[in-house]
């Protein structure tokens, strides 16, 4: 699940509660949230034998499989982002131009993935793949069903991630499209002789820059963090590799945990930068 920090505006109204009560809450919360982090970080850089050392972080890069799994995840993310945008944007523009009946359908298919727990989704996928391979064994489609499960680039994961990313991408794009007058833009561009692809690429998309960036980063965060589906289908994506490699090296595993926390943080900073840039 990807949650986004709201833009805080002003100090909320203080009603009741003494200053002491508030301070106690803050101290307990700080202890609960910071102690594990501080301990984890110190654990990765210090041990009694070697003293202070950044060796655990160095070992991340040199561990076998780091580059392969990280590149696999990045490639999956890139294809997922493109696919999500290519599929969603025309449908969402159609809703505004002449198919309002499509809106409830879009709302439904972009809410369903939030309801279905990933573990049950992967159960469905694997049983579809198994039954599909049996049923299609004698037909040319059999090769397709094998091809989408290729280890180097599992298309089946891309399809699953497209579905999982739909809710987040839809909401981001919806906010962007609300802010512009799609109908006027389309009429103006079409009357001036723009083709549909030209219209999409040169008129609509530049106006949606921050919404597109938001959708892309939310999808990226999702793909770089997704473990359950990839692990249970047996693919070595980056989150799966983290678990595989850290089996017997405690320092390395905690260093990788810190790294993934930093990764989330960087992604969210980029995200809020991208969506914070207000259009006039």
């Amino acid at each position: 699940m990807v949650a986004v920090t709201p833009q805080s505006s002003a100090r909320a109204v203080a009603v009741g509660g003494s200053g002491w009560g508030r301070r106690a809450v803050l101290v307990v919360a700080a202890a609960y949230f910071l102690v594990p982090l501080v301990i984890a970080i110190s654990f990765t850089v210090y041990n009694e034998v070697q003293g202070f050392s950044l060796g655990a972080y160095g070992r991340i890069v040199t561990s076998p499989g780091f580059a392969t799994s990280f590149l696999t995840s990045l490639a999956l993310a890139a294809v997922t982002i493109v696919l999500v945008l290519v599929l969603l944007l025309p449908a969402m523009i159609a809703v505004r131009l002449g198919a309002p009946g499509l809106r409830p359908v879009l709302e439904t298919i972009t809410t369903l993935p939030l309801i279905v727990p990933p573990i049950t989704y992967v159960v469905g996928i694997s049983s579809a793949l198994r039954e599909g391979a049996d049923a299609l064994a004698a037909t040319p489609f059999w090769a397709t069903i094998i091809a989408i499960q290729d280890d180097r680039f599992p298309v089946v994961l891309v399809l699953a991630y497209v579905i999982l990313a739909l809710p987040f991408a839809y909401r981001s794009l919806d906010a962007g499209l609300r802010a512009i007058d799609v109908v006027t833009l389309v009429e103006a561009a079409r009357n001036l002789g723009a083709s549909w692809p030209h219209l999409l690429l040169r008129v609509i998309m530049p106006n949606l820059r921050s919404a597109l960036a938001g959708a892309a980063f939310l999808t990226l965060a999702l793909v770089l963090g997704e473990y359950t589906i990839a692990a249970l289908l047996g693919y070595q994506t980056f989150p799966v590799w983290i678990v595989t490699i850290s089996g017997n090296d405690g320092q390395l595993s905690v260093a990788l945990s810190i790294l993934s926390l930093v990764l989330i943080w960087l992604l969210l900073i980029t995200l809020s930068r991208a969506s914070g840039r207000k259009k006039p």
């Binding site: 109204v13 203080a14 594990p36 309801i115 579809a128 965060a221 678990v243 989330i264 969210l268």
Partner: protein, 283 residues
């Protein structure tokens, strides 16, 4: 020549690729799941028949305990997380320090998305059997590897999520409402009882439901941390997928998945109307 001729899109045509992908990537697995859950395997070599046997089996022991433990854990985390998250959000939002507000809100954004195995590792380093806190304070082993340990760890992403959910609602409590209440002689208690809580209730309940869903679906953290010592439905399903069980169990796993989806749908059926209601007060 009218502009309509140029701007008209052929109805749903632009949405057809999306609908096709959803039908294939989501529809087919969903149908296979449902069919499998209601298929009773026949004798070897014979086709199975349709029936409720798997669903019934998934609601009997030993599976029922796992489903109930998952629901119990999620409920504990949801209620505890919603209460502490609201307290924290209120403490932070009423603070005079803008830096504190900003940093807690952005840290919540990061931690709400921090889950899975990395979360388990960080807590194992802290409270695991050889964790620093465990050894320094001479606490016994096994502190983390039980129901309450898991709840403690789940709160690490649930409380921040609640802060994110409730912060807009808390900010939506207008100062004028408090002034009006005070002007009419209301006590602090009366303000919260008759104004504050009723306005916050949809957001609070919505948060509880969202937190429930997050813990209910969580799998990786529990798998890395407690293994089989806390019986959870997600781990039972994962065991079935990885072939860690007796033959013939696969269909019960499909039924268990169906049970999970039903629980999640009930939860969402509560959440969506609440979300609509709470957004009424927020502009």
């Amino acid at each position: 020549m009218t502009s309509a001729r140029f701007t008209r899109v052929k109805g749903w045509a632009p949405a057809s690729p999306l609908l096709l992908v959803v039908a294939v990537a989501f529809g087919i697995p969903a149908v296979m799941l449902a069919l499998g859950a209601f298929t009773v395997p026949g004798a070897p070599g014979e086709p199975g028949t349709y029936g409720l046997d798997n669903v019934a089996a998934s609601l009997r022991e030993p599976y029922l305990t796992k489903l109930l433990t998952s629901i119990e854990l999620s409920a504990v985390v949801a209620v505890a997380g919603a209460l502490t998250g609201t307290l924290l959000a209120h403490a932070v939002l009423t603070s005079r320090s803008a830096a504190l507000r900003e940093s807690v809100l952005s840290a919540s954004g990061v931690l709400a998305n921090f889950g899975g195995v990395p979360l388990a590792f960080i807590w194992i380093a802290t409270l695991g059997n050889s964790g620093l806190v465990t050894t320094s304070f001479g606490l016994g082993p096994g502190l983390l590897y039980n129901f309450w340990g898991l709840a403690l760890v789940y709160l690490y992403f649930s409380i921040p999520l609640m802060v994110l959910v409730i912060a807009p609602a808390l900010e939506g409590l207008r100062p004028q409402w408090r002034e009006a209440a005070q002007g009419s002689g209301a006590s602090v208690w009366q303000f919260w009882r008759h104004v504050g809580l009723p306005v916050l209730t949809p957001a609070l309940l919505g948060g509880v439901v969202l937190l429930f869903g997050g813990s209910f679906a969580a799998y990786a953290t529990a798998a890395a941390m407690v293994g089989a010592s806390v019986p959870l439905v997600t781990m039972q399903i994962a065991d079935a997928l990885t072939g860690n069980v007796l033959v013939g169990f696969e269909n019960v796993a499909l039924a268990l998945s169906l049970d999970m989806i039903v629980v999640a749908m009930l939860v969402m059926a509560v959440y969506l109307p609440l979300q609509r209601r709470s957004s009424r007060w927020l502009r």
